[in-house]
């Protein structure tokens, strides 16, 4: 195994990526868990001084300097340097009580490495209280033992409030130690760390329904499009393991169910971090080793976290397309309230006289009675320009109806540039496919279809995929209201807007390709 030239890669991407107004997926490597504080999102990454990023909405990111600028001496303390080295990589962060614990990698000549702890009261660099206190090394590896003490992942057990740290990178094991929530340091430094995985790095744990999940990154990093990074996982009933994959292979023996691999235009996902947004909405952060749309640099992404059969599943952010929007409550589809027309026009059934009593309907002249019916030509899809002449010119209502593949039931969902967004995605406009007629919220918290999209907040939609794979749709703003409202099915035929409640299906929608 060769050591990863992480610092060089991080320095390169920072030259490529702009230093401000990173409109989603900002260039970074080894991101920490994305943390929310005082209405903003923060994330920290590998690089000189531990680069820090902030976002007001989870989509548009900007650099806010480096963490070490707020550390006395501007570098790791001498105990950290003695145990590890002067690099600053792959941090992770958690709020514990009224303080933030930021764990970071301080590798020397690997596998001689250390993980240091910084403690701060605020994440806002503009605050007079913004300062990071060096709390020294937490764990380290001596360069010989079966451990490379980098890549911290901090975990709070929701069952008993205990605090845990996993760490390690390929050389030897991923290790687990318990932390003291009061200090952020080891609770039992006299005890040997617990080995929980092998052949991996970027470890972190999450918990759900009685299971502890250990997520790690396998494969190679830091080689751009040649990086085989992929996120894998196992689970255990105990925080200390053993963590088995879906085939009951212990992660200590190389097991690991795939959670996220390369896909689309992204190569090499790694460094999972849970972003729980509340109300049952869960997302996860990660980086790709290579974003082909950004010249192959390493970028942050935030994606929906789904759950299926007791395992987390990596969801995908919605992309532009034409969709049916179907209520999970009623099974009926959102449509502009206009009189629909059957696809292909009104038609008779199979038709034709009974066998032996005449030629089949539509058969060429001379076809003998009883001959098999002539094949009918395909019927093209119904488009708005075929039937829209009968639609009203002004605003139209919105309703739910059985999906019949009709033009007023097909919606173009299109990201809107420069309008902001939310974790993982920009806002979308939702228009009747083939038209500029835009779905919008009204001041009465109901719905309408306006004749044209004008970019107003009542016409911009947030589309979050929920943990069961359905979607929640919320307008950016409702005229005259400060409440966050979600598209809701109040009956079989009636959509409305209402405060989101995770329980039940009334605000869950299926977004299907027609």
């Amino acid at each position: 195994m060769t050591w990863h030239p992480r610092l060089a890669a991080a320095a390169l991407l920072l030259l490529v990526a702009p230093l401000s107004a990173l409109d989603g997926e900002p260039g970074m490597h080894d991101p920490s868990t994305v943390i929310q504080a005082d209405g903003r999102f923060y994330v920290y990454a590998t690089g000189n001084g531990l680069p820090a990023f902030v976002s007001d909405d989870g989509w548009t990111w900007r650099r806010t300097g480096g963490v070490m600028q707020a550390v006395p001496g501007g570098r790791p303390g001498p105990d950290v340097l003695a145990r590890g080295g002067n690099n600053t990589w792959a941090p992770d962060i958690m709020r514990v009580g009224d303080r933030y614990y930021l764990y970071y990698s301080a590798p020397g000549p690997q596998p001689k490495s250390a993980i240091g702890l910084l403690i701060g009261k605020t994440l806002d660099p503009a605050s007079p209280d913004y300062k990071w206190e060096d709390a020294g090394p937490v764990v380290w590896s001596d360069g010989v033992e079966d451990s490379n003490a980098i890549d911290p992942g901090v975990f709070r057990d929701p069952g008993n409030g205990s605090l845990w740290l996993t760490y390690g990178s390929y050389f030897g094991y991923i290790r687990l130690v318990e932390l003291d929530p009061k200090t952020g340091k080891r609770l039992h430094p006299e005890r040997a760390p617990i080995n929980v995985s092998i052949n991996s790095e970027a470890s972190i744990m999450i918990f759900r329904d009685g299971w502890y999940y250990l997520l790690v990154t396998h494969g190679s990093c830091c080689q751009g499009g040649n990086s085989s990074y992929n996120i894998r996982m196992g689970r255990s009933r105990k925080v200390t393991g053993p963590f088995l994959d879906n085939m009951d292979v212990d992660m200590l023996q190389g097991g690991g169910k795939l959670f996220a691999g390369s896909s689309g235009r992204h190569i090499g996902p790694g460094h999972f971090g849970l972003l729980a947004l509340g109300e049952g909405v869960e997302k996860f952060s990660l980086h790709y080793e290579s974003d082909l749309d950004r010249g192959g640099i390493s970028v942050l992404d935030i994606r929906p976290l789904l759950w299926r059969d007791g395992w987390p599943v990596a969801g995908d952010n919605l992309t532009a397309g034409t969709y049916e929007i179907e209520s999970a409550r009623t099974g009926t589809a959102l449509e502009m309230a206009v009189q629909g027309a059957p696809v292909g026009g009104a038609r008779r059934g199979p038709g034709g006289p009974p066998p032996g009593q005449g030629p089949p309907q539509g058969a060429p002249p001379g076809t003998p009675p009883g001959a098999p019916p002539a094949p009918r030509p395909p019927i093209p899809a119904q488009e708005a320009d075929q039937v829209g002449a009968n639609w009203p010119g002004g605003a139209a209502g919105v309703r739910l109806a059985p999906y019949m593949l009709q033009a007023q039931q097909k919606w173009a969902i299109t990201p809107v540039a420069g309008a902001g967004g939310y974790p993982g995605s920009p806002y979308f406009k939702i228009t009747v496919a083939g038209t500029d007629r835009a779905l919008a919220a009204t001041a009465e918290a109901e719905l309408t279809v306006l004749p044209a999209f004008n970019g107003g907040p009542e016409q911009l939609w947030r589309v979050d995929q929920l943990t069961d794979g359905t979607y929640r749709l919320m307008p950016k703003g409702v005229p005259g209201s400060k409440d966050a409202l979600a598209l809701s099915a109040v009956g079989s035929s009636t959509p409305t807007l209402a405060a989101f409640t995770p329980a039940g299906d009334r605000q869950r929608w299926l977004i299907r390709t027609p």
Binding site: Q339, E444, E446, V490, G491, S492, S493, T494
Partner: protein, 257 residues
């Protein structure tokens, strides 16, 4: 254009007729809430004679009736069915209700036994209580030896709200297409062939004013079964139970412009 002439006549003479055809031919005072029957009304002995009784309907026997435990309104005035083409598209239904509506009728409340003339037809309003969550219009019409297919039913009820109630919704189901007004304002419309699914059509958020609130519906059926159900939902989409229906309260209802 109005086909139904505003020819409501005295109900005095019509009331006994209504009682006979809707309730029973036994002459006994009907129970206000008999157990619903599952079969059709009794077959007629002569083609145009009343077939009664309508198994799920009864003549009201009390001044008021509270909505049931699921919030359904169970007391209505229903006009005998009007023969129409039975087309159920949005355009056809909207044109039909505009053509066939009764002047000033969207907020006016008829009385049990009132009759109206529609072309060469004379139709009577009947007050009914349903024993189920829905009002079975097939039972209603069949019991009267009236057509059940290609027909338009008008239905009216009055909810006597104990206080002003903002943020509520009228929620209905109908077989088949239907249009609904609250205090003269159209609030729900459902089109095409459909079954009476609970809360199929739900109005925007409305305000029930203190006192009488007039609900009027037009239900168009092309063929087969025909029925409707209606209730109000609160701000959390939960049924509002215990709302009082009193058909004589409509006299004081003030029409909205």
């Amino acid at each position: 254009m109005t086909r139904l002439r505003n020819a409501i006549v005295s109900a005095i003479g019509a009331l006994p007729f209504a009682a006979v055809v809707i309730v029973a031919t036994t002459g006994q005072q009907p129970s206000p809430a008999p157990a619903p029957a599952t079969g059709p009304p009794t077959a007629p002995s002569t083609p145009n004679a009343p077939r009664g009784p309508a198994p799920s309907l009864a003549r009201p026997a009390s001044p008021t009736k509270a909505s049931d435990r699921a919030g359904f309104l169970q007391r209505w005035l229903i006009l005998e069915p009007l023969k129409v083409p039975g087309q159920l598209t949005e355009g056809a239904v909207q044109a039909l209700v505009k053509k066939e509506h009764i002047p000033e009728s969207l907020t006016a409340v008829p009385k049990d036994g009132d009759v109206v003339h529609a072309g060469d037809e004379t139709l009577t309003w009947h007050a009914v209580d349903t024993t189920a969550y829905n009002v079975n219009l097939f039972h209603f019409a069949y019991a009267l030896s009236k057509p059940t297919s290609n027909v338009l039913f008008w239905a009216v009820t009055v909810v006597d709200a104990p206080r002003e109630m903002p943020g509520v919704r009228l929620a209905i189901g109908s077989n088949a297409a239907s249009v609904w007004w609250l205090n003269g304002q159209e609030v729900i419309s459902l089109y095409n062939d459909r079954q009476a699914v609970i809360d199929d059509g739900v109005s925007p958020r409305l305000t029930l004013r203190k006192g009488p609130n007039v609900i009027r519906a037009a239900i168009v059926n092309a063929g087969g079964a025909t029925d409707f159900c209606a209730r109000f939902l609160d701000g959390h989409d939960a049924p509002i139970v215990g709302l009082i229906v009193r058909l004589d309260a409509g006299a004081s209802a003030t029409p909205r412009p």
